[in-house]
């Protein structure tokens, strides 16, 4: 088992390298560079060019990439072009807010999606099923940022129940969490439903019923544990996406997390920060998805058996 985990972690390294390469490559194509921004307009073209040479900006792409990556290993991603702060430090300082939002959002999503998905599957083709399916489809069709704006209009401006922006106290996380969560809930619910439908006709549920297990326990224990893997996969992916994809929600609610950091940095033309933040976020979400993958083994003994072989 541990061997498997270590193997998977090692396999993550080439993916991380490739991802950072792609991101670094794309952002490298952005017009303008550090020198343009830090020097302002006063510096002459020759001086700028000299500065570039000194900073190694004229080196070939591959060399700059390796320099960047060796920095990354040491936790050094350069300094922000605008605030002159250490990119890695700033990123770490913003991480808790995003983690908090992503976790709260996932909790909201799972607590909506799993009961609804199960109900839909158990009462297939009934009004409960079609109701859940319509809700799910609606959830897939609403842009997160608009849902966030609606929440602000209704619960913050009209009713005054929650603050509309910022991260202060537990109450401020409610609206953003619902916003992040309901988008995730839609996909998770559809997955729960189809996964449960797959399981619900299995013979082993009849065996359980014949033992005298109550219907509630048959569904919640015997069926759900078998249906859990696809649900976990989707929920995990969504959590991973929420880590970086909470960009929209964070923007709407002025939530001081990584999404905001990325958007603000783009608006400030802070390429160093954007590159660093995107690479770190992608790595983080890959790790989360890997952890979910490993968690499968604890849900399904058949997968564990395959790993330990």
């Amino acid at each position: 088992m541990y061997k498997y985990i270590i193997k998977r972690l090692l396999l993550l390294i080439p993916i991380m390298l490739a991802v950072s390469f792609i991101v670094f490559f794309i952002t490298d194509l952005a017009p303008g560079d550090v020198v343009d921004i830090i020097s302002g307009t006063e510096m002459s073209v020759e001086d700028k060019e000299k500065l570039r040479e000194e900073m190694g900006l004229n080196d070939p792409f591959v060399i700059r990439y390796f320099r960047y990556m060796s920095g990354l290993v040491r936790g050094d991603l350069g300094i922000s072009l605008v605030t002159k702060k250490d990119v890695f430090q700033v990123y770490i300082s913003r991480l808790p807010a995003t983690l908090k939002l992503a976790t709260a959002g996932t909790v909201v999503a799972l607590s909506i999606a799993i009961p609804l998905g199960i109900t839909a599957a158990v009462h297939q083709n009934s009004w409960r099923d079609s109701g859940s399916m319509v809700l799910g489809l609606l959830g897939l069709s609403i842009p997160t940022f608009w849902l966030g704006l609606l929440m602000i209009i209704i619960f913050s401006l009209k009713l005054g129940w929650f603050p509309s922006i910022g991260n202060e106290g537990l109450i401020s996380v409610v609206l953003p969490a619902i916003t992040v969560g309901s988008g995730q809930a839609a996909l998770t619910m559809r997955t729960t439903r189809s996964s449960m439908l797959e399981v619900i006709r299995q013979d082993y549920l009849r065996t359980a019923r014949a033992k005298g297990v109550s219907e509630k326990v048959v569904i919640r224990k015997h069926a759900l544990k078998n249906a859990l893997i696809p649900i976990l996969t989707v929920a995990g992916n969504q959590f991973g996406i929420a880590m970086g994809g909470a960009v929209m929600t964070e923007t709407v609610f002025a939530w001081p997390g990584i999404g905001r950091l990325i958007i603000d940095s783009i608006n400030n033309r802070d390429t160093q920060m954007v590159t660093g933040a995107i690479i770190l976020t992608t790595m983080l979400s890959s790790v989360v998805i890997l952890l979910i993958d490993i968690a499968y083994a604890f849900v399904d003994p058949r997968i564990k058996a395959r790993y330990t072989k």
Partner: protein
């Protein structure tokens, strides 16, 4: 002698045509039974027709982007059913005209990813071995970058305009198409008619694109439809962030971004463009769901 030959030939052709038609007809018949899907198709048709008519009826310079200061920030009324924005522009007209951006970005973006991802997936699924490995691993890499972040990355690098928006939204769903196409090909790959074509000496390319591809259209088509919906959402998100269709064009996402500054007192400005997105995407998703059920009744059960 000649006559009978002609008869046989034409009847063979006719029966082949009939068979093809009946397959499509079967899908259509199943699709038609699904009320939601029919509703979606109706709504989407209306939206498309509106956007075409808007092209001829509405004048961009005078009705969409010209500022009319005396009429600024008017609440919905008979004259302006959806009200006006901070420059006095009629929001209803802007929404009607703006449908073209969402539709075209959504459709072109998905065509981009379908073209790239579909071909990659078909090749991977059919060739197998090292080629499959390379293609699918690079898809894994791309897929591990959250779609929105990848799109943001691309638009920052190349600047915010409609074409870049289309490409950046499209690139993000390439891995998904590659996976669906590969899976679809793998299920038909070992069927006997492929074996037969190979035995008859058809080239690999020919087998791939004339025999395999048409037989795994169903999952690809469903994926395409559903992806158009999510592409519209991603595109409007980028525009909302100021990384998509630049103002003053009445893209729904950028209209929402403008409305956001007036959310406290003029919330109608954030209501209507959002509703437009939801209705469009919902219609497309209903069609996608309906198509999926119609093409594979097994899935519905």
């Amino acid at each position: 002698m000649d006559k009978t030959n002609v008869v046989t030939k034409s009847s063979v052709a006719a029966s082949r045509k009939y068979k093809k038609n009946s397959q499509l007809y079967e899908i259509w018949r199943n699709f038609r039974k699904n009320k939601g899907a029919v509703l979606g198709l109706t709504v989407l048709s209306i939206i498309i027709i509106t956007s075409i008519i808007a092209n001829f009826v509405i004048d961009y310079e005078t009705q969409i982007i010209r500022q009319v200061v005396p009429e600024r920030l008017q609440r919905p009324s008979w004259k302006h059913p959806f009200g006006t924005d901070q420059y006095g522009r009629d929001i209803l007209l802007r929404i009607l005209y703006g449908s073209r951006y969402s539709l075209s970005v959504g459709i072109v973006a998905v065509m981009v990813s379908l073209a790239i991802g579909g071909v990659m997936g078909v090749i991977a699924g059919y060739m197998g071995g090292i080629i499959e490995n390379i293609i699918m691993r690079s898809c894994d890499v791309f897929a591990s970058i959250p779609a929105l972040l990848l799109a943001i990355c691309i638009t920052t690098a190349f600047g915010a305009n409609t074409l870049i928006l289309m490409i950046s939204v499209g690139v993000a769903s390439v891995p998904a198409f590659a996976r669906v196409a590969r899976a679809a090909v793998m299920t038909v790959r070992d069927n006997e008619y492929i074996e037969a074509a190979r035995a008859a000496g058809a080239t690999r390319m020919r087998i791939m694109f004339t025999h395999i591809l048409p037989n795994c259209m169903a999952p690809i088509m469903v994926q395409t439809t559903m992806r158009v919906g999510s592409a519209i959402i991603t595109a409007s998100s980028l525009s909302f962030l100021g990384l998509g269709v630049p103002p003053p064009a009445p893209e729904w996402g950028s209209m929402l971004s403008e409305g956001r500054s007036f959310i406290r007192d003029y919330s109608y400005m954030t209501m209507f463009p959002g509703l437009a997105i939801v209705i469009t995407v919902l219609a497309i998703n209903l069609i996608g769901d309906g198509l999926r059920d119609a093409m594979d009744p097994k899935l519905k059960r």
